[in-house]
Subunit: 413 residues, 2 copies
């Protein structure tokens, strides 16, 4: 196959009604008329997945994961043929494919399977025959032809994986926001549209609150160097390109300010400093599927340390007894827990080797009277814990301090 391929992924909102499916089909038809070979990945229509799960819970309180996967996979195998028949009606040859038919091979972990490989024979043959392939996202099959789903961000992952397997020129993610912004535009009126962002920056942004694209999809894009274009299903203008190399002028120190509210902080006080203690504390949380973030262990010169970590506030009630039990096991002195917090993060590859960025962040927050209750950093990210109530003011102050404010105040998005 010589001509390159474009992948377009449309989320549940974009295909939420028959009328929207017709709009999406018109958009695909346009791309085809421009001479592109197109593979489309679709999510389930609107609330279909939730409705199927609700149906399961009407027959039993605890459906087996394998059967739940069999059930929810129908969401995408309903939307895919609807879109394909709509394309056919517009005179665009198209064919819908299940995950199996599209060659998406996965691990056997039901409800959270990983894509192992994409066998592209069928896809290539259909593209060669001049057809648009409409692939049911979020699903694949194991070697034994067992149907699995990919968990959160599943359809994004399908799209980028297909892009990698077909060596696509770009993977377009159509969504209900029109770009990645330098901060949440609902909070910062002068948030800037980001034209280009690096995979690393996008991963950090996603990890700290920018929910546009799931990190695992970004990771595959990074690994196979597939440009990912995040853009609006409803508007024409380009959105944000996620790429390996940023254009020179966009390599500013700080690219964006992300925030996430409703965070809780748990501190285990007086933890005996010996091997295996951290495992004893965090394993029960992992087993309860509670996602732990920002772990800080205080450096101590005694034989005791304090361990602090954050979790979603909604997990706090379930987490505390687990942590108390673990603390008792390891012989710690106390467990303190508090909610009502938010994470404020600045992200940017440009801050690598740029001294003073952290200092400026802390000073900005201090000048705004915002107390910092914890700090965590990566090479290209600094995160501060602050109170929920002060989060938005903090985002705005940081956005201004790092010279991210757009020259124009945006109106309606």
């Amino acid at each position: 196959m010589t001509a390159r391929v474009i992948i377009q992924k449309y989320g549940g909102t974009s295909v939420g009604t028959p009328a929207r499916i017709r709009k999406v089909a018109a958009r695909i038809a346009e791309t085809v008329r421009e001479g592109e070979r197109v593979v489309v990945v679709v999510s389930a229509m609107g609330q279909t997945t939730d409705q199927l799960i609700a149906l399961a819970h009407r027959v039993t309180a605890s459906p087996p994961a394998r059967e739940l996967d069999m059930l929810v996979a129908n969401g995408e195998t309903i939307s895919a043929p609807l879109l394909a028949m709509c394309l056919a009606a517009l005179g665009v040859p198209a064919i819908s494919l299940t995950g199996l038919q599209a060659g998406v091979r996965t691990s056997g972990h039901h409800s959270k399977a990983r894509i192992r490989a994409v066998e592209t024979d069928r896809l290539r043959a259909e593209l060669e025959a001049g057809r648009v392939c409409v692939v049911a996202g979020f699903q694949g099959v194991t070697e034994d032809l067992e149907i699995t789903t990919l968990g959160r961000g599943g359809s994004d992952t399908t799209a980028v994986a297909l892009a990698a397997a077909l060596n696509a020129s770009v993977c377009e993610i159509y969504t209900d926001v029109d770009a990645i912004y330098s901060a949440d535009p609902r909070v910062v009126k002068r948030a800037r549209r980001i034209e280009h962002i690096s995979y690393e920056e996008m991963l950090e942004m996603a990890a700290v609150g920018a929910r546009v694209l799931h990190p695992r999809a970004v990771e595959i894009g990074q690994l196979y160097r597939i440009p990912i274009h995040v853009r609006s299903s409803f508007k024409k203008r380009p959105g944000t390109m996620i790429v390996a190399e940023l254009p020179m002028e966009e390599r500013s120190r700080v690219r964006g300010v992300a925030h996430e509210t409703d965070i809780a902080k748990v501190t285990i006080v007086g933890v005996p400093d010996r091997p295996g203690v951290a495992a004893t504390i965090f394993e029960p949380l992992g087993e309860a599927a509670i996602s732990v973030d920002v772990i800080v262990q205080s450096v101590s010169e005694t034989r005791e340390t304090d361990i602090t970590f954050t979790i979603a506030e909604s997990d706090l009630k379930q987490a505390v007894p687990l942590v108390r039990r673990a603390a008792e096991t390891v012989g710690a002195k106390d467990v303190k827990a508090s909610g009502g917090l938010a994470k404020l993060s600045i992200v940017g590859t440009g801050m690598l080797g740029t001294p003073g960025v952290a200092g400026r962040m802390f000073r900005t927050l201090a000048e705004g009277g915002i107390n910092i209750e914890g700090i965590s950093t990566s090479e290209i990210r600094i995160t501060c814990l602050v109170s929920n109530a002060q989060a938005e003011a903090g985002v705005r102050a940081l956005h201004t301090a790092f010279e991210l404010d757009s020259l124009i105040t945006r109106g309606k998005r």
Copy 2:
């Protein structure tokens, strides 16, 4: 595999709601506790198939058959895992299987595929492991893994085909009627429950109005000698066994009276008697998917004949212009069409070699003042065309004349 297998098929009404799915699961659990190995075939829940087709028509007026098959196949792949998870909740190990996973291989005729073979490896392995298999009915895949549906009576056909492939001891068809009756019990109060009926008789009954079981399912049962048990999803008592050899006492001459209303009759007058004429007339009807029944060609000593046939009255409007055009092509004199008719049929292997059955039928109708507008026969069936208005009186008269009346008048079914 030594122990034999039972197939149980549950139709759309039987699995129409979560509550009904739970009832069906309880019934299956009971069969499993009796020591049976069970393969279940399910239809789509209630109106799901119609809803999916309606959804297709909201995106395009003429969905391609291939995509429509992809879409409607979801009906059964939704009900199957729901039933399997419900069984699991009752402590019965169970696994749902798509047509593909159950090894149902079909021809590529979308929306009317035929089952070519059932590859039973997976089914046998699951049964061997002690699991109930819940198979999505109505669907299969081609060699190229294209999803096809089987058309009318599809899930019944899946069930009997699986029974044949697994050499099942019986194929139980659970439905909303509790047995095959000697006549429609809504019309004949003294209709008799038929305990046993031969495949041939059932085929004739199905062809002339007894809509309980699709003829193609009966044909497979006949070919592989699989006993088919038609019974109620909601009641315990046994229904009707469809078998090869009737018990001696049940080999009466006439077993049942079937009727079908809203029939139209078309007569082509003065058709030149030469080869190819019938093909010219009936091919366009076949292409328009109009089902033609009871064809009678009058024997003539001239070089012209009259051809009469029946169709469903609902097809009449579409059929007449097609027939007129064909009549013109072959140089026939006229086309006459009339609706408002019904088919009255008596069926029974016992009438083979029993003289006087036809005569008694005609005399009975004549004594009831019922005019016969056409006659057609097979070896074990005689059908008369009468007016719709006289159909029910005719059924009752024939039921009495052939000594089918039950000794007790039945109340509520």
